[in-house]
């Protein structure tokens, strides 16, 4: 009776233990469905842990037991990371000037502020979640791809595509300034997230680096007087990529070294 088998499968998918009377009759005659149903209603098969093991584990944990201060809720960490980002952006922009902002029109500046704000929200929520194991999805790959595509499209469509004669000479100072801002930003953001317990240190490093890189790019966007698409994509874009890669590497290496010591 394939129709009844499908009904049993549907109940299994819904994890429903209560079957209609009609299906009980079907189960009696169908070995496959009986196997599945018995498994569904059976108690979980847990592997026994011996009392000796429980004692050994308890003693091990108790040997270094002391009260700990729990992390604040996720929302607080998101606000802390976002505030750091905004304060650092304002601080560096007031220090380095706003020549870039003067070069941009209303449309360009609004689009870039919107993109940076979106990136900040995405990255800070992801950072806060990664600080706590089991707190849900981090930054999904599709979100990262969408954000990067949005950034590339905006720059490509809104900014002129002519490169000046001194493309490299104009680019180096931007790259250097962006990297310095990114590194300083990464240090400050690390102070915010250092108490977290990430289960994937590499991903946490990449996330931290991307946030710090975005900080560097946003300060450059408001400060840099060369507002052409090739300059923004090559020199400002390199800041984002380099800081992300550097932080990922540092986090992975640091975790390995600390893991060996433990």
């Amino acid at each position: 009776m394939p129709g009844d088998c499908e009904l049993v499968d549907a109940m299994l998918d819904q994890r429903a233990e209560l079957l209609p009377e009609k299906l009980h009759r079907h189960i009696e005659g169908c070995a496959r469905c009986r196997g599945l149903h018995e498994w569904l209603i059976s108690d979980a098969d847990l592997i026994d842990v011996s009392p000796t093991t429980v004692d050994r584990l308890s003693r091990l944990l108790k040997s270094s037991l002391r009260p700990v201060n729990p992390l604040p809720p996720t929302k607080v960490s998101v606000i802390q990371a976002s505030l750091c980002f905004v304060m650092l952006t304002l601080g560096f922009t007031s220090l380095l000037g706003t020549a870039g902002l003067a070069q941009m029109g209303r449309l360009e500046s609004s689009a870039m502020v919107l993109l940076f704000t979106t990136g900040l929200i995405l990255f800070s929520v992801s950072l806060a979640r990664q600080m706590r194991p089991g707190s849900g999805t981090y930054l999904s790959k599709s979100m990262v791809v969408l954000f990067v595509l949005g950034l590339l499209t905006c720059i490509s469509l809104l900014f002129p595509w002519h490169a000046s004669q001194s493309f490299v000479a104009q680019g180096w100072p931007c790259l250097f300034a962006g990297l310095v801002i990114g590194v300083l930003g990464a240090v400050v953001l690390w102070l915010v997230v250092r108490r977290g317990a990430p289960v994937l240190p590499g991903t946490m490093g990449a996330n931290l680096g991307a946030t710090a890189g975005l900080l560097g790019v946003s300060v450059l966007q408001f400060q840099c007087p060369y507002q052409q698409a090739p300059h923004l994509l090559v020199w400002h874009g390199t800041v984002l990529v380099a800081v992300t890669l550097a932080c990922t590497g540092i986090m992975v290496i640091a975790t390995r070294i600390l893991g060996r010591r433990k």
């Binding site: 998918d13 070995a31 592997i47 108790k62 009260p67």
Partner: protein, 195 residues
């Protein structure tokens, strides 16, 4: 009448799970406060589920015990990162999941460095021998991502939302993996039936 009794039993089970979850949260809160009794109680209550989750077809019992110890040490080091307003099991199983993955990577590295011997040593009994029901043995033939979802749902009694949080994925993705796992289990049962 039978349906009514069954519904009542399901309702009681649901309330029992909720009570258990509350008790676990309270124990974890006391553990964060440095209460040694809470530590012992938590270890006793959660270790069987954790050990069942950490075991697998290629993991010997001693390896599984080592993974369990490592998992508890990680939980101990990260205990400040638990928020008592959130469910405990996704937090615990998220750590267990990465302990298991790291253990798998370590074993693979060791296997690559192994030297062939003339006579094979006697193999230690694997936990699959311990697992009672026939279907539970079939779980070991599922892909890892599907197996872990079914074990969390069935063995640990977690909800779809809890499993989604523990595996850092969406509820839809968990449902899809569970659906594929059940389909594969049906196939395996049918094949066994034909034999």
């Amino acid at each position: 009448v039978g349906g009514g009794i069954a519904l009542q039993r399901a309702d009681e089970t649901e309330r029992g799970i909720a009570r258990d979850e509350d008790a676990l949260r309270e124990l974890m809160r006391r553990y964060q406060g440095g209460d040694p009794v809470a530590v012992e109680d938590l270890v006793r209550r959660l270790s069987p589920s954790l050990l069942s989750f950490l075991s697998g077809p290629l993991v010997s019992r001693s390896d599984a015990d080592d993974l369990l110890q490592e998992c508890w040490l990680r939980i101990h080091r990260s205990r400040h990162a638990y928020n008592a307003t959130e469910p405990l099991l996704p937090w615990i199983f998220s750590i267990a999941r990465h302990t298991r993955l790291d253990g798998y990577r370590r074993r693979r590295r060791h296997l690559l460095r192994e030297v062939l011997v003339e006579k094979l040593p006697e193999r230690a009994p694997t936990p699959e021998c311990v697992w009672g029901s026939h279907v539970m043995k079939l779980l070991d033939r599922l892909p890892e991502a599907q197996r872990e979802v079914v074990v969390m749902l069935k063995v640990s009694g977690m909800t779809l939302e809890d499993v989604a949080h523990a595996t850092a994925s969406s509820v839809g993705s968990v449902k899809q993996k569970a659906h594929r796992a059940y389909a594969r289990l049906r196939q395996l049962l049918e094949l066994e039936g034909e034999k």
